[in-house]
């Protein structure tokens, strides 16, 4: 391209520009401060922190911890919200507030587990498949395509039927079609970073594959992966709910938010709170994750 010797002066600046780009992709504190200046992002962060606190300290925060874990309370069945039962009670007389808090434990923890393990499996495979274009990379790509060519939730349902219903099996069933999304994301990122000068330079200097992967590739894909993790938490929580709602996930007396909505569905017209309370909890947390993730993504994507 720029073979004109007179143009060589500027080439060194291209390398510098690359360095700057590399640096800019890392998380910076002023970026996070900017994030909190957005009202919506700040509000969602508050919702998330509240949910997290409630869930972590459930035994102290829930008014009736044992009911939250499933103990029945038959003399107070189907009570409307009142001072003693803040969000009403369900068909077994259990306090909805306590149930929602304990259900949040299962839903949130499940969501985190799915996304965490999906990323844990998907990211290394993506790094490997992106960096090695040999047979192993091709095999990984094909497997990923196979998974992505069919709706993930349907695959999860099928696996869940096969290995049996339950909270733990539902999580496994959801991780299996979930990790390929991370592999594909990382693979794409790696393919573009691989062509940059600093990776080529490292290759020419004779650094090993693993060194380049961990030293140069991993730090540069961390931001998109983190954003995707954050954006995936909401869908993961919904996905567990979807499985639980049709009886493939959490089993009573334990209940996640999806199952609680299901339990209230027959009484929706009279005792609406049994479904609406956990449904609202789910909706609020998911939308908070989504808005927060979106804001984060916006900030990382914006130039400069």
């Amino acid at each position: 391209m720029k073979e004109n010797p007179m143009a060589m002066q500027t080439d060194s600046y291209d390398i510098m520009a690359q360095k700057v780009i590399q640096e800019h992709r890392k998380v910076k504190w002023f970026q996070l401060r900017r994030l909190l200046k957005r009202k919506a992002a700040f509000l969602s962060l508050i919702i998330l922190v509240l949910a997290l606190v409630a869930v972590l300290f459930a035994p102290w925060i829930a008014p009736y911890p044992e009911q939250g874990q499933g103990a029945v309370n038959l003399e107070h069945r189907l009570q409307a919200p009142s001072p003693s039962y803040f969000l009403g009670t369900d068909v077994y007389g259990r306090d909805m507030l306590s149930r929602v808090i304990w259900g949040g434990r299962i839903s949130l923890f499940g969501g985190v587990c799915i996304v965490f393990f999906a990323a844990l499996i998907g990211v290394p495979l993506g790094l490997w498949a992106g960096y090695n274009e040999g047979i192993s990379g091709a095999v990984i790509s094909r497997v990923v395509e196979l998974f992505l060519s069919f709706p993930s939730t349907l695959i999860a349902m099928a696996i869940s039927i096969l290995i049996g219903a339950g909270w733990f099996t539902a999580i496994i069933a959801l991780i299996i079609p979930w990790w390929p999304w991370y592999t594909r994301l990382v693979q794409g990122e790696v393919l573009s970073i691989k062509q940059t000068l600093y990776v080529e330079a490292a290759q020419m200097l004779g650094y090993g594959k693993l060194y380049i992967i961990f030293r140069h590739l991993l730090p540069n894909i961390m931001t998109p992966v983190l954003v995707m993790i954050l954006l995936d938490l909401g869908p993961a929580i919904i996905a567990i709910g979807l499985l639980s709602f049709i009886g493939l996930g959490t089993q009573p007396p334990m209940a996640d938010w999806g199952l609680m909505v299901w339990e209230g569905a027959p009484n929706i017209l009279s005792e609406w709170w049994i479904s609406i309370v956990p449904g609202c909890a789910m909706f609020m947390v998911v939308i908070a994750f989504n808005i927060f993730g979106d804001a984060l993504k916006d900030i990382f994507d914006s130039k400069g």
Binding site: L154, G234, F245, L269, I276, G279, F283
Partner: protein, 336 residues
């Protein structure tokens, strides 16, 4: 183009063969005894044994597989363990009922999704954009089953505008029954001139269709917005602007056409999403379609029906994506 269609068709056949094989071995490894399920409740051992022979379950797995595949060629998917009717017949009866919902939902989601996305991108950063952003964030965050219940609670119980569930009011079912011509109730009632039933059926469809289209609409709107904004940042838009082309043409003609390709892909993918959502929506709205049928099959481990449902969803999925690929080729000549 013809070559492409042929390739896709061969691909579809291959997928169906792989899928049916997978589903066959998958369902055979399910827990539970199919013959016992077939007979139901308190069956005597000899009854179950007879059912086993009747269903061919006593033969070795390979023989069963051969017979299953052989029958499949003649569109024979076996007998449902739950309804005791041929699965294929069940499916043919249920598919139109669901597709009435699915097609409406898909159409509305695509139309409003793209419109909202375009409006948000055009007014980027304004109040309109913010409002649409909130709205679409909510749309993609609300669990489908929760949305369906909310709709029932609000529009039936509180406002009383729409019926709670079902496909047609029961009194009309006797006075003005739907004649089965195409299976699509709205089309059937129109053809038969049965306007009373037509309006009643349409009325019943409003809430389920709403529950189905909200999520995909949000996804499509968000993608349209970001895809458009991405395109408007490209060199060729800058160059076109520098050559004096008006902002309107730039946005709605140059930009939109470039942005449409990923949007079409997502519209194709949302067919699968909507199909999945019918499981929940049809259950909650008591709509006698394929979703309800699938869910019942899942819950009762009716493996013959499950096989049929899986093959059907696979087929629909491939067809929807093929249609979208054809449209993408028309919109974007780069796709080869």
């Amino acid at each position: 183009m013809l070559l492409f269609l042929c390739k896709r068709f061969v691909g579809l056949i291959a997928l169906l063969i792989v899928l049916s094989t997978l589903v066959f071995f998958f369902t055979r490894s399910l827990p539970g005894d199919a013959a016992a399920l077939y007979i139901g409740g308190n069956a005597k051992p000899e009854q179950i044994e007879r059912a086993r022979i009747e269903l061919g379950l006593d033969k070795p797995l390979v023989v069963q597989y051969k017979r299953y595949m052989g029958r499949l060629i003649h569109a024979d998917m076996g007998i449902s363990l739950r309804t005791h009717r041929p699965v294929f017949k069940d499916l043919m009866e249920k598919i139109p009922m669901s597709f009435e919902l699915v097609l409406w939902a898909l159409f509305i989601a695509a139309f409003f999704g793209v419109s909202f996305g375009v409006i948000a991108a055009y007014f980027q950063g304004s109040m309109i954009d913010e409002t649409i952003k909130w709205f679409t964030s909510a749309a993609v965050s609300i669990p489908i089953f929760f949305l369906a219940l909310l709709l029932q609670l609000f529009f039936f119980n509180y406002l009383g505008w729409f019926p709670l569930q079902g496909r047609i009011d029961s009194f009309l079912e006797f006075s003005n029954p739907i004649q089965n011509i195409t299976g699509f109730s709205m089309v059937d009632t129109l053809i038969a001139g049965n306007f009373k039933a037509f309006f009643n059926v349409s009325w019943h469809m409003v809430l389920p269709v709403t529950a189905l289209f909200v999520g995909p609409m949000g996804i499509i709107a968000r993608l349209t917005r970001s895809s458009l904004l991405d395109v408007m940042d490209q060199d060729y838009i800058l160059a076109a602007r520098a050559s004096g082309i008006s902002e309107g043409v730039l946005f709605f003609y140059y930009g939109l056409r470039n942005a449409l390709s990923p949007v079409l892909t997502v519209i194709g993918l949302s067919v699968a999403l909507i199909l999945l959502a019918t499981f929940y929506v049809e259950m909650i709205f008591n709509w006698p379609g394929i979703g309800y049928y699938s869910l019942a099959a899942i819950m009762s481990l009716d493996y013959t029906a499950l096989m049929g449902v899986t093959l059907m969803i696979g087929t629909v999925y491939v067809i929807a994506n093929t249609i979208m690929d054809i449209l993408r080729r028309i919109v974007d000549p780069r796709i080869k």
